[in-house]
Symmetry: C2
């Protein structure tokens, strides 16, 4: 995944053309957006969409220092010698850099920005909640995830940022689905009955339904960590590889890094095979072979049951 934003055409325009773009930061107008279900994330997190001036960790601050200047258009970055040879072919492959360099330009997409990362809504979400966590470090963001996460400091930073992202995602899941959840309803009904807080039933822990990880063979050039709800219910989920990229070992949880040198998930042949595997329901294990449509309608049923838990 890690897709182009819906207003992709704007990305390639020269800086001057951006004057017409709304740049207001703290209101969330969702301009002409087809999605309206993410309101809670947008509004809940809008106060953090600007870059935090207070960098808490000095090691990180050093590592994450901004590039010498914002890149113009899609030329390769010159700041790192080992990246000079990495030419990003095709505009779409490098499109995520716009969010990294100019998060303030995308108030409808950007949920949170820190000196280290930008958290955006995936433009083509493959589940009820689907966010992308983008590291801002030019020294890392064009590396393959396996390589980038071999750097312990970088990995530690990404884990911390991802934990925050997962919290926001879980909160949004709760906002959207809480009214359908037996567990959550039990808690809110107890609340309505005036039960004291230390006596309340725990309510549903939606963080269990959020997964954090990367694709073994990303198509987008910039490193992006998926923060995605478990359901895989989305109109944008359109074919087998969409599904299998999140539901086979092709999806590598961030928690699994750093990968061992001999980890099978590094092997291209293995990962290509994963994408072509028969479809298996993530919830009940039922096999669908190549019958994607049948899986899709089954996922609708599972979604109802899952959100009712």
């Amino acid at each position: 995944m890690a897709e182009l934003a819906e207003d992709f055409d704007d990305f390639a325009q020269p800086e001057s053309a951006q004057a017409a773009q709304p740049t207001t930061e703290n209101d969330t107008p969702e301009p002409a957006s087809k999605e309206s279900q993410h309101d809670a994330i947008s509004s809940a997190a809008s106060s953090t969409t600007t870059i935090k001036p207070d960098a808490k960790r000095n090691a990180f601050t050093e590592m994450m220092r901004p590039k010498p200047k914002p890149s113009i258009s899609h030329q390769p970055h010159q700041s790192m010698a080992h990246k000079a040879s990495q030419v990003i072919r095709g505009v779409w492959r490098g499109a995520l850099v716009e969010y990294i360099d100019h998060p303030e330009r995308f108030p409808a997409q950007v949920i949170r920005a820190t000196p280290y990362t930008v958290l955006i809504k995936d433009a083509f979400p493959k589940a009820t909640i689907h966010l992308l966590l983008l590291p801002r470090s030019p020294a890392h963001y064009l590396l393959h995830p396996h390589t980038a996460f071999a750097d312990p400091a970088f990995l530690a930073m990404m884990r911390e940022e991802a934990a925050e992202a997962a919290k926001l995602a879980a909160a949004e899941l709760a906002r959207q689905l809480g009214s359908f959840s037996a567990t959550s309803r039990a808690r809110s009904e107890a609340m309505d009955r005036g039960v004291s807080y230390d006596q309340l039933p725990p309510g549903r822990d939606y963080s269990k339904d959020i997964r954090v990880g990367i694709h073994a063979h990303p198509s987008m050039a910039h490193l992006h960590v998926h923060v995605i709800s478990r359901d895989m219910r989305s109109e944008r989920l359109k074919h087998k590889k969409h599904y299998n990229s999140f539901n086979t070992p092709f999806f590598v949880p961030l928690a699994d890094y750093p990968l061992a040198e001999d980890d099978v998930r590094r092997e291209t042949g293995y990962q290509n095979a994963n994408l072509s595997k028969g479809l298996v329901c993530w919830r009940c294990g039922r096999e669908f072979g190549s019958q994607f449509k049948a899986l899709k309608s089954h996922l609708e049923e599972e979604f109802e049951a899952w959100r009712a838990e």
Copy 2:
């Protein structure tokens, strides 16, 4: 090929329901037919659409004696012991029997009927002219063509009938395309100038553009000989197998019968491979691989050049 008629639904109805069908023989109303380009064939041949009372050849007359009674619905015929086990599965596979048994019911489709054959327009023509010649002998019409044409008397009869069919087909081609033909135009212009008949240029011989043969693996149960113009220009030509079934050795000219025992065209594997072969233009030999659409548009160009000859 050898397809169902357009008014296929009527076929499966009981005899009583056929009362509403027009049974007039010598006018050609083309009732609700989408095709209008076959008018010449219909009108030119309408005087022969009834079964000829005068059977010219006694051997044939004996061989072709009608079945004891017209079959009802699609039950297998009981008249021949060796056919008792041949159950026709699927209504469509046996649909051609209606034309054989009741040619008078299909004035819009039947071009000619004799005691030995019925000649119909293919309901899904794969070229400008596409006719089917159906033998009426129950002793032969459910046999595989290779087997049926091993009978010399049957083969001789079919060749004679096919020659007549090809004449009609060539005449219809001339009617439809003569005005586009340089050769034909030269003749008609000479005619207009009052050139005496023995001095007229010959005009185009359209019989060279008519091919007569069968498919090695027919899908329709009843033996049918294709009488088809060379162009392969038709909206009904929709995929590779349509084309290759007429433009590889899968198409066996009637002239090639009887086949030798070891003729490779008897082999199933060989013929399946023919259907999957890369597409090759029948006129210029250009190869199109699996690009059916590209072949289709190329055939449009070839059609223009071909009819201009």
